[in-house]
């Protein structure tokens, strides 16, 4: 090609293997080794016992991709003070994976269980966020509810009563078990 080409390798295998070697060494330095150390340090952290409903709720939180809009990482800076104290490694102990996130289309949820403590508020908000926060852009999750005629709703059951446009005239929404699990999870997200 040019005279420069003679200064460097002409062997495809050499290039391939040297790249693999350099990259593996750097990976050890900035990924594997620091991750091992953190893992080691975290090994002594207490892992809170998790309620079955909370565990199920967390799986639904992941399945619905809530973490693409809600972070769970509070930075040690003024801008993050509304969300709680700065996050620590201990907050993520036992979490597979930690739900830190990279976006806040919605607010951080690191301590949502301390902020929104109402079970009922959370159910209405899940059914349709705009029933509680008119300007919200969060999706609605009606598939975790059963919509029935008001007269058919079992007596004593928790029912959501909403006007148009959220529910048609004469209808109410009954939370399915999944809705209760998600709310159980949200209420459990606290910073000790």
């Amino acid at each position: 090609m040019t005279r420069f080409a003679h200064l460097f390798s002409r062997s495809a295998l050499t290039i391939y293997l040297s790249v693999a070697a350099v990259f593996t060494i750097l990976t050890l330095l900035v990924a594997i080794d620091p991750a091992m150390r953190l893992k080691h340090e975290d090994a002594d952290l207490p892992i809170a016992a998790v309620d079955a409903a909370v565990a199920r709720g967390r799986i639904i939180y992941m399945a619905e991709g809530c973490g693409y809009c809600h972070s769970q990482l509070v930075r040690p800076a003024l801008i993050d003070t509304p969300y709680g104290r700065p996050s620590r490694a201990a907050d993520y102990a036992g979490a597979t994976p930690p739900l830190v996130g990279t976006q806040r289309n919605g607010p951080d949820l690191s301590a949502v269980g301390e902020r929104q403590t109402s079970h009922v508020w959370n159910l209405y908000h899940l059914f349709n966020p705009r029933s509680m926060v008119p300007a919200s852009i969060m999706p609605a999750y009606p598939w975790y509810f059963e919509i029935v005629d008001k007269v058919d709703a079992p007596a004593g059951a928790l029912t959501l009563v909403l006007d148009e446009p959220f529910l048609a005239e004469g209808k109410v929404a009954l939370p399915k078990p999944e809705a209760l699990d998600i709310v159980a999870y949200l209420l459990s997200v606290k910073q000790q």
Binding site: F23, I79, P97, Q103
Partner: protein, 457 residues
């Protein structure tokens, strides 16, 4: 005779990859448009399988792992074949790789839509079995390319091949680390996530598209690359620096401070390889402006080269703590993501397709349609990136001022709308691209189509 068969096979491989890439581009764009409009009309399409959080990973997987990986690999096969001056080592393996990747992408689309995921860990949400299929495809393609290059009759190993080999050498290591169960839990996972998220961009997509551009540009302009030495500098700089900067995705997270600081500082070092390549491309174009002015392939390559330098500079700056504090978690990052993954990688990819595929199939598309593709994409991207950049700064300032969270949501509503419009233009441009690609189809496909028509029903 043999030569014609080799040519037919290479053409079939390259075109099959590029055609698949266009399908994933259309699909991923459709998902992107749905996402963007959902943030404007949150009650639109309230269907489980199209819920925002379900389809966001489908959007990124279709476009990054699908569109980009397939398009880049298809063109990489072409570059390797031409520079090594020999047929692809095993066409069968190339098709096997294509089938595995498409299979993984379809399985990934289905599982993620159903909510089967490893969690919101970006670009590695696919459950392990799906990821394994994708990884095997990557290994097969890497091996095929390596063997083609090892057994080449020409003494030189053109610089493009260095980059392509590097991408295929890094991907398996990277993918393995990303899926190691040992780091799935706890804060260690944050380190791995930052590392993976960055390296997949910097040492998979970036080296492949650079390698392809180091070949496509000289072919288009019919002259050698400006400097081989700059290319080699960019090569090693890219490899060493890109490996080290993943931690800048989680600045202020409970991961080691030294790791974050190293990442931020090494980001400055990235300016060397980045501007070495951008400069190299621009200096190669110098003196050919008159030709480029009339050639949409040249427009794509020119804008892609410029956006490579600009988006990377933006990336370097946003890692610094005072800036990161303001714009991290905001739409500013979404702007950067599209500026880089679209403005840089995808634009160069489009340019390379328009430069190389017609020379391969000896069929081109109407120049006006390529021009329409370019302008729709560029205007769409400009609206997208400026809307998200302004929105991001507005969010950061709003949060700093201590106003209620919902105030920043209301304040950026017009910018979400503008992004949805820009994004829709981008998606529209991809329909034009798909049509153009159809115009460039190889004769074999046309012959088959004609034969099928003639055959008695």
């Amino acid at each position: 005779m043999r030569e014609r068969k080799d040519h037919r096979q290479t053409t079939a491989i390259v075109y099959a990859y590029v055609a698949s890439c266009a399908v994933w581009l259309l699909l991923g764009s459709l998902y992107g448009v749905i996402l963007a409009w959902k943030l404007v009309y949150p009650d639109a399409l309230t269907i489980e399988l199209l819920s925002y959080g379900r389809i966001r990973p489908v959007h990124t997987a279709s476009l990054l792992l699908g569109f980009l990986s397939l398009g880049l690999t298809g063109l990489a096969y072409l570059v390797v074949n031409r520079t090594a001056e020999r047929p692809i080592w095993s066409p069968a393996l190339a098709f096997a790789g294509l089938a595995l990747w498409n299979g993984a992408l379809i399985a990934g689309l289905v599982t993620l839509s159903l909510g089967t995921t490893r969690g919101p860990i970006e670009y590695r949400e696919w459950i392990t079995p799906v990821a394994v299929v994708f990884a095997v495809g990557a290994l097969i393609n890497g091996l095929n390319i390596l063997l083609t290059l090892i057994r080449r009759p020409v003494p030189e190993l053109y610089i493009s091949n260095w980059f392509i080999l590097a991408g295929f050498a890094c991907l398996p290591v990277l993918y393995l680390v990303a899926y190691l169960p040992a780091f799935a839990t706890g804060s260690a996972n944050i380190i791995i996530q930052g590392y993976y998220m960055h390296v997949v961009l910097g040492l998979w997509f970036t080296p492949l598209i650079l390698g392809i551009t180091y070949w496509a540009l000289p072919i288009l302009l019919d002259k050698p690359i400006y400097s081989y030495g700059l290319g080699v500098l960019a090569f090693w700089g890219n490899l060493v620096f890109y490996s080290l900067i993943g931690a800048h995705h989680f600045i202020f997270a409970p991961t080691p401070w030294w790791l974050q600081s190293t990442a931020i500082l090494v980001g400055l070092g990235m300016m060397v390889p980045v501007w070495a390549s951008t400069g190299n491309f621009l200096l190669t174009m110098r003196g050919s402006w008159r030709y480029i002015r009339h050639e949409p392939a040249g427009w794509f390559l020119l804008s892609g080269a410029l956006m490579y330098g600009l988006a990377s500079t933006q990336g370097t700056l946003q890692a610094f703590r005072p800036i990161n504090l303001l714009v991290h978690f905001t739409n500013y990052t979404v702007g950067h993501a599209h500026f880089a993954a679209y403005g840089f990688v995808s634009f160069l990819l489009f340019g390379a397709v328009y430069a190389l595929v017609p020379r391969l199939t000896r069929r081109s598309c109407p120049k006006a349609l390529a021009a329409i593709h370019f302008w729709l994409a560029l205007v769409g991207l400009a609206l997208y990136v400026s809307a998200m950049t302004i929105a991001g700064v507005r969010q950061g300032l709003g949060w700093t001022s201590g106003a209620a969270f919902i105030d920043s949501v209301t304040a950026i509503a017009p910018w979400y709308l503008l992004r949805a419009i820009g994004g829709s233009l981008m998606a529209l441009s991809h329909v034009v691209f798909a049509f153009n690609l159809w115009c460039m189809r190889p004769h074999a496909i046309r012959a088959a189509a004609v034969a099928a028509q003639r055959a008695p029903a």
